[in-house]
């Protein structure tokens, strides 16, 4: 069983060439490594069209700044002949001001930048440091934020009745404002009106939340920006920030984000302001054109820039929508997971249900979440075991019996999804077709194994399968892994090479070292 020499040579040469090709790509890429780890990337363009009637026309808007969760690059100001551009710092915000001088002319300004962002969750302690003096600017009443109107005061007191700490108070205020029905219209609504008509869009809700917070002595302010999505839009968005121990913490009472900002929230300004201001009497139209880009999470380059370094990668498949990115990810992870299972079986000596079932289960867990997935898995196994019991007693043939288990399982999942929607428990609804099938097959395999090997041994195999699943999950849940495989598909050749090495491994499995221990320690023989 010796591999012929020339075949061995061929394999070595292929490995070597693959290595070279990898190296050729890795060197330029390594210079672009990035520790920002943005989750999403957008190309944003503010487009303004206006007719300059009588000369001096000014358009002002807020410009984005870098912070811990957003990064702005590749900015183009849109300044050109006849249009001046100026940056102005104002109350901690940054404004862009365009001025056009020529009268009676249709003109346009395109301001463009690249946004990279990540989600951020803030931690809030039970109680805050007692804040600042009462003259804090973020504790004042304003025209639209009637923080000390009797109705607001009454509502605020009513809401925090019996709370045990600042966190709980904030949570109550937030829940109340979140529960106000949202109005589809983007009309201007102040805090009091929002409370009175019990209906508002983002700006009304935000003003009410700020008013309630200020009323109770928590410094709060409006935050403005744009929700980025792959589209053209004209709407901006407003949310709230409350000062918690010298840190501004975001709350979006419209979308229900408590102390959390998703990765597609472009932050533009703080304060109860309008995003766009222009000279009166100017005919103006505008749109925000937003294009989602394929982000390579650990590189400070996007897919186009990468393609210019090396044309050989699988980005083409993603960009031309040949395969959905998610599908491609799973496809590429399959060999890696398979290799891992091969290692766990042949070197470690774990016994698992089926050969590649652990990888597939781990993939199903990617959709359901790890802990919930394992719970669902164990729950289903118990369910199939119990539900199939009476049918086993009827002495039915294998295949029709499996159909019964499968049907029962689908029924449970349908009920589960329904309950999930009713009770808003998201993970109950996460059982789409793929996890359902995988978990059903595994549960079925386990029931069969109990019949063949008895409960104790089958449970042992189940436990080992779960170990293998956990290890697979731990590896394939790394978000950078599929991206690495898309950039460097040569790695799949190495998977084959490693499998050849593994396929020739004749050493004892680690579990066998334990089993044959009496024979391996010389003194006991």
């Amino acid at each position: 069983m010796h591999t012929p020499q020339n075949l061995k040579m061929a394999l070595l040469v292929i490995s070597f060439l693959t290595g070279l090709s990898l190296l050729y790509k890795v060197i330029p890429v390594s210079k672009n490594l990035d520790d920002f780890y943005a989750e999403e990337m957008y190309l944003v363009t503010y487009r303004y069209y206006f007719k300059n009637n009588n000369g001096n026309t000014t358009i002002k808007t807020y410009l984005p700044k870098n912070n811990s969760r957003q990064r702005i690059s590749a900015e183009e100001t849109g300044a050109k002949k006849g249009i001046q551009f100026e940056r102005v710092a104002q109350d901690g915000n940054l404004m862009g001001v365009w001025t056009a001088n020529k009268p009676n002319l249709f003109q346009n300004v395109d301001y463009q930048f690249m946004y990279e962002g990540k989600a951020k969750q803030f931690h809030i302690p039970q109680n805050f440091k007692s804040t600042l003096e009462a003259t804090h600017p973020y504790l004042n009443e304003t025209e639209h934020i009637q923080a000390f109107h009797p109705k607001i005061s009454q509502k605020a007191r009513e809401l925090v009745l019996g709370t045990k700490g600042d966190l709980e108070s904030i949570q109550r205020l937030f829940n109340f404002v979140h529960s106000i029905p949202s109005a589809p219209i983007i009309s201007f609504t102040d805090a009091l009106t929002t409370l009175e008509q019990n209906r508002a869009s983002c700006n009304g809700k935000s003003r009410l939340l700020v008013a309630l917070a200020r009323n109770l002595g928590y410094p709060a302010r409006i935050k403005g920006g744009i929700l980025l999505e792959h589209t053209r839009k004209r709407t901006s968005h407003a949310w709230v920030e409350i000062l918690v121990n010298d840190q501004w913490v975001p709350f979006d009472a419209l979308n229900g984000h408590f102390a959390y900002l998703p990765s597609n929230f472009l932050e533009l300004y703080a304060g109860d302001e309008f995003l766009l201001v222009h000279t009166a009497g100017v005919q103006l139209d505008y749109t925000y054109e937003i294009k989602e880009l394929d982000k390579i999470p650990f590189l400070s380059m996007n897919s186009e820039q990468f393609s210019s370094i090396s044309p050989f990668s699988l980005w083409g498949l993603v960009e031309q929508k040949v395969l959905p990115k998610k599908g491609l990810n799973l496809l590429l992870l399959l060999p890696i997971g398979g290799l891992l299972v091969a290692f766990l079986r042949n070197v470690v000596g774990l016994k698992t249900f089926g050969v590649f079932l652990p990888v597939l289960i781990a993939m199903a867990l990617l959709e359901t979440g790890f802990a919930q997935g394992i719970l669902i898995f164990l729950g289903l196994i118990m369910f199939v075991g119990l539900a199939a019991h009476p049918f086993n007693k009827m002495g039915l043939l294998q295949t029709p019996k499996m159909v019964i288990s499968l049907t029962l399982m689908v029924m449970v999942m349908a009920v589960g999804s329904y309950l999930g929607i009713k009770t808003e428990i998201v993970w109950l609804t996460s059982l789409t077709i793929f996890p359902t099938i995988i978990l059903t097959i595994s549960a079925e395999r386990f029931t069969t194994l109990i019949q063949e090997d008895g409960f104790q041994k089958a449970s042992g195999t189940l436990l080992q399968t779960l170990m293998a699943v956990s290890i697979c999950y731990y590896v394939i849940a790394n978000e950078w892994l599929p991206t690495v495989l898309i950039l460097f598909p040569e790695i799949l050749i190495w998977v084959i090479m490693l499998s050849i090495v593994l396929g020739k491994y004749i050493g004892l499995r680690w579990t066998e070292v334990l089993r044959f221990n009496p024979l391996l320690t010389p003194k006991s023989v």
Binding site: Q398, I506, G507, P518
Partner: protein, 320 residues
């Protein structure tokens, strides 16, 4: 390369599953012939054809329509065993004994004609063979030799002899215990007893964790106890190994009270626990067997038991 890195130093003579599959099973047992060993009906055909002693086949049932007629013709025997041809782990095997007035007993319970027919039906429809249809084997019931009773009286004990290229390399005796529910399998709480393959004597008892010098249910030491018909057992296993186109086999044998050594079944993937039972790695056993081969001249010892063996002729392999 990687293999050497992981290997366990001087004791690499122990064979693990990887080594067994890669170096013993794959090169010696062509997959297309697995069925000859896995299917009891097929392996018995080969045994009968080569005149190797094994339980007499009373009937083979392949079709539901044959059940009633065949079962009636089998009622002439006093005892018989009903087995699925492709069963595993001893599932689906029923041993029947005739009582007075032509009633049948299975275990300790009465079993009606109707129940027997139903059992055969479920064997044929594949209940014990993972979904595919199967055939049902009805054969002579073997009565264990008193030798086994001297160690432990109940259940079905058997010998396991591993052969490589027709040479026996390791052997053990598997015995049920009071905890093993009549089964002799090491996984099911049976015990394995090591065998000195050259002397034909028992060495030590292994219960899965400890080594003992006696069966767990019988305080009498067994170390050095001679096995009756040992040379015949060795010769039968050699003949069996030659009869099959499979060069690495685990052959299960039993000694019948009156008919002597009999082949029970043949395995293409024999387990590795036998190394523990014998305190010897398979590699070392193979090396020893090759060494012995040059010196070994089988001599038929006069059995210490008075009954003379009624051996079926096994051809030129039987020496002495």
């Amino acid at each position: 390369m990687l293999g050497r890195f992981f290997n366990i130093g001087p004791n690499s003579e122990v064979v693990g599953l990887n080594d067994r599959n890669l170096n013993l099973i794959y090169p010696n047992n062509p997959r297309k012939h697995y069925a000859l060993a896995d299917d009891k009906v097929k392996s018995k055909e080969i045994l009968h054809k080569n005149h190797i002693a094994c339980a007499e086949t009373y009937a083979v049932i392949n079709r539901v329509s044959e059940i009633k007629r065949t079962w009636n013709s089998c009622k002439q025997y006093d005892s018989l065993a009903i087995k699925p041809a492709n069963g595993c782990g001893g599932n689906g095997i029923k041993i029947l004994r005739k009582e007075l007035h032509d009633t049948w007993i299975s275990g300790s319970k009465m079993i009606s004609d109707q129940q027997v027919v139903q059992h055969i039906m479920s064997i044929i429809s594949g209940v014990y063979s993972m979904g595919s249809t199967d055939s049902c084997l009805i054969e002579e019931c073997i009565v264990p030799h008193p030798f086994f009773g001297e160690i432990y009286g109940t259940g079905v004990p058997d010998f396991r002899i591993i052969t490589l290229k027709h040479k026996p390399v390791l052997a053990m005796l598997r015995m049920p215990t009071s905890k093993s529910d009549g089964k002799a399998n090491l996984h099911q709480k049976g015990v394995g007893i090591g065998i000195d393959i050259n002397k034909g004597t028992l060495t030590q008892v292994f219960d899965g964790r400890r080594y003992l010098d006696h069966h767990p249910d019988n305080p009498q030491p067994i170390t050095g106890k001679p096995i009756p018909y040992w040379n015949e057992l060795i010769e039968i296993s050699k003949a069996t190994a030659k009869a099959f186109p499979l060069d690495y086999l685990g052959i299960d044998l039993v000694i019948d009270k009156t008919k002597g050594p009999q082949v029970m079944e043949v395995n293409v993937r024999p387990g590795l626990g036998i190394q523990l039972v014998n305190k010897m790695g398979l590699r070392k056993a193979i090396a020893l067997a090759e060494e012995q081969q040059s010196k070994y001249v089988p001599i038929r010892k006069l059995s210490q038991y008075k009954e003379s063996p009624i051996l079926k002729p096994i051809g030129e392999q039987l020496v002495g």
